[in-house]
């Protein structure tokens, strides 16, 4: 692959990184998190983020890659692009200034890096025009076919749901509105929200899928078995992802179980939308 093409890929990745991190750039709580977030927890976010990005690179890769090392490098490249572009944008909008303590600067950049890295990795899918005259067409077909088989495996789908959930939830998790919603609604509304989230996830996973995909997902099982295997597992992943993010942003401290559950249910609602649509977004190339 030539340098010109690589530069184009890089440019696309840059745009993707900025686009995906944009809501977070413009969020007040995110700016404050630079100095209020627990350092250890931010590190945990980073540590969890890397394997997920590597796996996402396998599914989405912003460069034709042929081995684990390539995916690792792609993931790190995405992180670098996201961190660099994040720093530039934050400087531009005055959220970051050289006068701030280093810890605050690092904290702010760290938070926007995760969604930005996802954006960089997916940019290849979203913004790419059909490539013409690709020498490796035949090899790619074989690799694509095998990749498609794996993409349709159970755990691959679950993984994609998780990363979709984490991505959407991360954009709203730090905000005050999240907990405010939980405080404002009655327990019955929380319950309704949980049930509606589950239903929405089921709808997004199955009614939007192509017929052939649905049959493959169903396998020999009944609709109920699929509901349990995909939708229930998917909601649980969204709930766990929500709990994880709430913990990262310090919302779990000293809070009663019922209240914490309401936080989870409120955050799981957008997470579910991310989970339901994740596969669609990543798999567009197959379309």
């Amino acid at each position: 692959m030539g340098n010109a093409e690589y530069a184009r890929d890089l440019g696309r990745a840059l745009v993707g990184a900025v686009l995906f991190a944009l809501p977070l750039f413009m969020t007040m709580e995110m700016w404050q998190l630079g100095f209020t977030a627990d350092r250890g927890r931010l590190v945990t976010l980073f540590v969890v983020m890397l394997p997920m990005l590597i796996a996402l690179s396998y599914f989405a890769g912003f460069e034709r890659a042929f081995g684990l090392l390539d995916h690792v490098l792609d993931a790190f490249a995405a992180v670098a692009i996201a961190a660099a572009s994040g720093a530039v944008v934050l400087l531009l909008i005055g959220v970051l200034s050289p006068a701030q303590p280093l810890q605050e600067i690092i904290g702010k950049i760290a938070i926007v890096t995760f969604p930005g890295a996802i954006g960089a990795l997916l940019a290849d899918k979203q913004l790419e025009h059909k490539r013409e005259g690709d020498d490796d067409d035949d090899d790619d077909d074989d690799e694509t076919h095998e990749q498609e088989e794996i993409e349709r495996s159970y755990f691959a789908r679950l993984f994609l749901m998780t990363i979709g959930a984490l991505f959407v939830a991360l954009n709203v998790a730090p905000t005050e509105e999240m907990i405010l919603i939980a405080f404002q609604i009655s327990p019955w509304q929380s319950l309704a929200l949980a049930l509606i989230s589950l239903t929405a996830l089921h709808a997004l996973l199955f009614w939007a899928e192509f017929e052939e995909d649905e049959e493959r997902m169903r396998g020999d099982g009944s609709m109920f078995s699929v509901f349990v295997r995909y939708t229930c597992a998917g909601y649980a992943l969204c709930a766990l992802a929500s709990l994880f993010l709430l913990w990262i942003f310090g919302r779990t401290e000293n809070t009663g179980l019922a209240e914490l559950t309401e936080f989870i249910v409120v955050l799981a609602f957008p997470a579910v939308l991310g989970a339901g649509l994740a596969q669609r977004v990543v798999a567009e190339r197959r379309g």
Binding site: Y154, L158, E176, I179, L180, F183, Q184, S186, P187, W188, S190, L191, A194, L195, L198, S225, V228, R229, Y230, T231, C232, A233, G234, Y235, A236, L237, A239, L240, N254, T255, G256, L257, A258, E259, T261, E262, I264, V265
Partner: protein
């Protein structure tokens, strides 16, 4: 995997349902306790823990402390039921010298 998911969902529903059915809806009932008194720049800080024993979330909770003729206050953004939040009050003279009274002054519905 799916079974585990179903169990987690059922657990969430159980907690919410239990809360919905047994919640008496009592107003916020806030207890403020002394955590520690430390010497800091400008005087002393009284670190407190505020706990909401009621069933409703209180917002903009004003916590005040009185000792040795001084009264100071701090505001907590949100204090959900069965939860606690921490804060501190700055005093000029040593609050340990006289009886320290800590209380919640008021709140707002979120």
């Amino acid at each position: 995997m799916g079974a585990a998911g179903a169990i987690i969902f059922a657990a969430i529903v159980a907690v919410l349902l239990n809360n919905a059915l047994t919640d008496p809806g009592a107003p916020p009932s806030i207890i403020v306790e002394l955590d520690a008194i430390e010497q800091v720049a400008g005087g002393y800080v009284v670190e407190f823990v505020a706990r909401n024993e009621g069933d409703t979330t209180a917002a903009m909770v004003e916590i005040s402390g009185e000792a040795g003729g001084e009264t100071h206050s701090a505001t907590l953004d949100y204090l959900p039921p069965r939860s606690e939040r921490r804060g501190g009050l700055f005093f000029e003279s040593d609050p340990r010298a006289s009886e320290l009274k800590l209380r919640a002054e008021g709140y707002q519905d979120p």
